[in-house]
Symmetry: C2
Subunit: 209 residues, 2 copies
Amino acid sequence: MKLTRLPHKTVERLSQYRKALMDCLESGKDFIYSHELGNIVHVTPVQVRRDLMLIGYSGTLRKGYDISELINLISRILDPNQIQNIALIGLGNLGRAIISHFNGKRTHLVIVAAFDNDQSKAGKVINGISCYHIDDIRDVIKKGNISMVILTVPPEAAPKIAETIVFSGIKGIINFTGTPLKVPHNVFLEEYDIITSIEKTSYFTQLIP
Amino acid sequence: MKLTRLPHKTVERLSQYRKALMDCLESGKDFIYSHELGNIVHVTPVQVRRDLMLIGYSGTLRKGYDISELINLISRILDPNQIQNIALIGLGNLGRAIISHFNGKRTHLVIVAAFDNDQSKAGKVINGISCYHIDDIRDVIKKGNISMVILTVPPEAAPKIAETIVFSGIKGIINFTGTPLKVPHNVFLEEYDIITSIEKTSYFTQLIP
DNA sequence: TAGATTGTTAATCGATTAACAATC
DNA sequence: TAGATTGTTAATCGATTAACAATC
């Protein structure tokens, strides 16, 4: 099923669908209609049906979608085949918040190591994650079989670190630093800038009568 | 100039352009070509020119764009006319990280109040921001002339709080809770879910050969 | 001048929505 | 059956890119 490259937006929604479906399952529901699921995730029923069409899932007419079947299918698509190890670089406020926000939420994605340039943090265990000095990135990435990195270092430090981790063979980066990064084509880069997000919200908020 | 409603993506890029331009100005540059700016922000030169066309800015042929002029124009468009007061609701790790990450970075957007349901935090000042109990939201929002909210409460708590703040007249919400929110049409809602973002990156990372 | 750059329209691409056949 | 629902194609919308005229 992992043959086709799904559209970005569809992948994002599948993640949302799964969460919603897990909540539904927990509350004792077995089947769900496209308009119900759409309602939770804030998407039109057509959008839901089209997304499910793209992953090749068929519901039952007049009965809707089998919730646990659908959860399993989405999981087979979204979750990596083996457990995927993630490193977090930059143990500031944001880095620690992300660790505690994410840790334990997903079984196939695990933050296994954290890096900081503060020597005093190296060797410690913060939120159950081993900390290393930033100079050891290359070694730890290779030995720890780490393929993804979450970047939460200060903006000035970002470009150099990006270069290092790309060189170490990292294939996916989530960049929270606010500094746009350049990476080769065979590295997936997701950027999120909180400040831009706040400015954007401010702009559109001002436009409201 | 605030007449036209700019495309979402253009607004996001304007925020990025401004940051890049401010860095350039600081390093002594006066003019910049579209391909230079595009290079920093990771966007094609045509994209840059088209965005600037949309805000009605003209450069000088063969000389490029006047950096400080452009910064001023973008600021006139992005920044609210008066200072816009923001509240942050949910003083967990993520909430505090956002406060310290954003505070002082922009003069026209200020986080002026923080809310939590932990009584012991009420009345204190955290990172220079006054904390209140969550029951006082309505009062503080109205008295403090707050029009935007950043939501970092636990997922279960989100829907009820969203209802309260919408009722209190909030016009813009940035929702980090991971629970999709329903808001009326005259409220701007920006949602960002870290877990979805990580899952998406994982998916596309797996697709790389 | 030749080459480089801006500004803008037209074409393309990606994502969403409308329309509707199929069917329980 | 009538009404509600799924699955899918075609149409539309929004955003990006290609193409190119203008000009310093």
